[in-house]
């Protein structure tokens, strides 16, 4: 990995739907991010501990650990407590926003979304260069 690659922000995405995972990965990589992907909450937590991403993008309804729970555990983690977390949810919960912030997430987006809007939200959440 060269120096230029190394400097690109690393985003961890977790979603149990492969099509959505690949959609987000494709769009983010084209926008210049490095991407690692997990298919469930447990895997997401493991990858986060191993790679220390610059931002974490989590689906809410995932097997093993849901997005809220992964966020809570990240917040209790010594070195991951301040990583920006964006939640994606496909369920119609009136209080999804409240639940997201309660769990410690920085932002929340309802599915379906336009990939460009997601990209904008991620840019906003990443600390400026």
């Amino acid at each position: 990995m060269n120096a230029e690659e190394e400097s690109k922000p690393l985003v961890l995405i977790a979603d149990d739907d492969e099509d959505i995972r690949e959609l987000v990965r494709f769009r983010l990589e084209r926008a210049g991010y490095r991407v690692i992907a997990a298919a469930d909450g447990r895997e997401a937590l493991e990858l986060a501990e191993q790679h220390h991403p610059d931002l974490v993008l989590l689906d809410v309804m995932m097997p093993h650990l849901d997005g809220f729970e992964v966020t809570r555990r990240l917040r209790q983690h010594e070195s991951l407590a301040s990583v920006p977390v964006v939640l994606l949810s496909a369920s119609m919960h009136g209080d999804a926003d409240a639940a997201s912030f309660e769990s410690g997430a920085n932002a929340h987006m309802l599915k379906p979304f336009a990939p460009a809007d997601l990209l904008k939200m991620i840019d906003e959440q990443l600390p400026g260069d």
Binding site: I20, L23, M62, P63, A90, H93, L110, P112, F113, P115
Partner: protein
């Protein structure tokens, strides 16, 4: 031992009344005796006082005096008895009526405040009021049960909306997302474009299937499912179902085979719906079988005038605890959910509705971890 409070009270009152009458009779007799003795003394006095008469008068006066004392003693004893009896009756009223009623009142207000588990404590001694407490408790239990049922139904409805929202929005996310990718950039390589279009196509079909399932369930709910009533051969229907899934089975790395025996007789009903039911079973079997597994579909006679359609998979199997709930709507086993297998939990409910509508039955044999066999049994008529 159970005693009737009213009888108890009545008994107490009768005993008290008898005692009062007894005391009254004794007192009145004593007063009469006293008057008698006094009268005798007066007679003796009016007749002049000889030594004998003096003796008589003195005796009569003495008797009158003792009878008077007797009357006073009995009167006082009677009054004490009546007071004691009244105190006893009041004590019984408080213990047997007021306290139990108070407890029922307390339980009722706790229920009114939302504590539906409140009950009247059992009294140490059974009385008539205690039976009222028991009646109250059975009423409270019925109310609690009904209320729990309502909570359960509400939770089911919430879960339904949550699941439906999730199942609608998930494929839409891919459809909209990949379309945007295609629209954003028309310089994408042809191979990539085809790949994206296939994803969109697959997700649109998934959405269509869900909409179809939801509408079917809605029609069942409204009692408006109309089944065709035509005689048809089952063999070509089953063959068609198996063919439809060959590509999907292959893409999952599964072998899908049909092993059928000729039937004597035809099925009467809705060919399209029977195909839908068998499709659902095959689709599940593919979904739940691991790569390298095998799905077998068998059509064969099942005793006289019946056909059996078996769909056998080599999947994870269904734990015994889940088998009963399996055919109810939206049920998804714990394993299924944690293994992240897509689905709404509508499929098997639909299969059962269709099979029931044809006068058939569905059965399941499964060993946890070793695959499942779903069998549809359908009645046949002569050709």
């Amino acid at each position: 031992m159970r005693r009737n409070l009213a009888l108890q009270m009545l008994g107490g009152a009768v005993v008290l009344a008898l005692l009062s009458v007894g005391v009254f009779v004794i007192t009145v007799t004593a007063i009469e005796d006293q008057s008698d003795a006094t009268r005798q003394a007066k007679t003796a006095l009016s007749q002049g006082l000889g030594p004998e008469d003096r003796q008589q008068a003195a005796e009569a006066l003495e008797r009158a005096d003792s009878e008077g004392k007797r009357a006073v003693r009995w009167g006082v004893a009677g009054m004490i008895l009546i007071v004691l009896g009244s105190v006893l009756i009041v004590f019984y009223l408080i213990r047997g009526v007021l306290i139990p009623v108070k407890r029922i009142e307390e339980a009722a207000s706790r229920i009114a405040d939302g504590d539906l588990s409140a009950r009247v404590p059992r009294l140490s001694e059974a009385t008539g009021i205690d039976r009222m407490g028991e009646a109250f408790n059975s009423m409270a239990a019925a109310v609690e049960k009904a209320s729990l049922g309502m909570v359960e139904a509400e939770r089911g409805r919430d879960e339904f909306f949550s699941v439906v929202s999730h199942e609608l929005r998930t494929p839409l996310t891919s459809i909209i997302g990949y379309l945007e990718l295609l629209l954003e950039d028309d310089s994408l390589p042809a191979e990539q474009r085809t790949k994206f279009l296939n994803v969109i196509n697959r997700n649109a079909r998934r959405l269509l299937r869900l909409v179809g399932d939801l509408l079917f369930v809605a029609r069942v709910e409204a009692g408006r499912v109309e089944l065709d009533h035509q005689a048809f051969d089952l063999a070509p229907v089953i063959q068609g179902c198996v063919e439809t899934f060959q590509i999907r089975a292959a893409s999952h790395g599964l072998e899908l085979v049909e092993e059928s025996a000729p039937l004597e007789g035809r099925c009467v009903g809705d060919e399209g719906r029977i195909a839908q039911a068998v499709d659902n079973l095959i689709s599940n079997a593919i979904k739940f079988s691991p790569e390298g597994g095998r799905v077998t579909v068998r059509l064969h006679p099942d005793g006289a005038k019946r056909a059996a359609i078996e769909v056998v998979d080599t999947g994870m199997g269904i734990p015994e605890g889940d088998q009963e709930a399996l055919f109810s709507r939206f049920f998804r086993g714990k394993l299924v959910r944690s293994a992240s297998i897509q689905g709404t939990g509508l499929g098997l409910g639909i299969v059962k509705t269709i099979v029931d509508g044809h006068g058939g039955e569905i059965s399941l044999e499964s060993v946890d971890g070793q695959g499942s066999t779903f069998t549809i049994h359908l009645p046949l008529v002569d050709e």
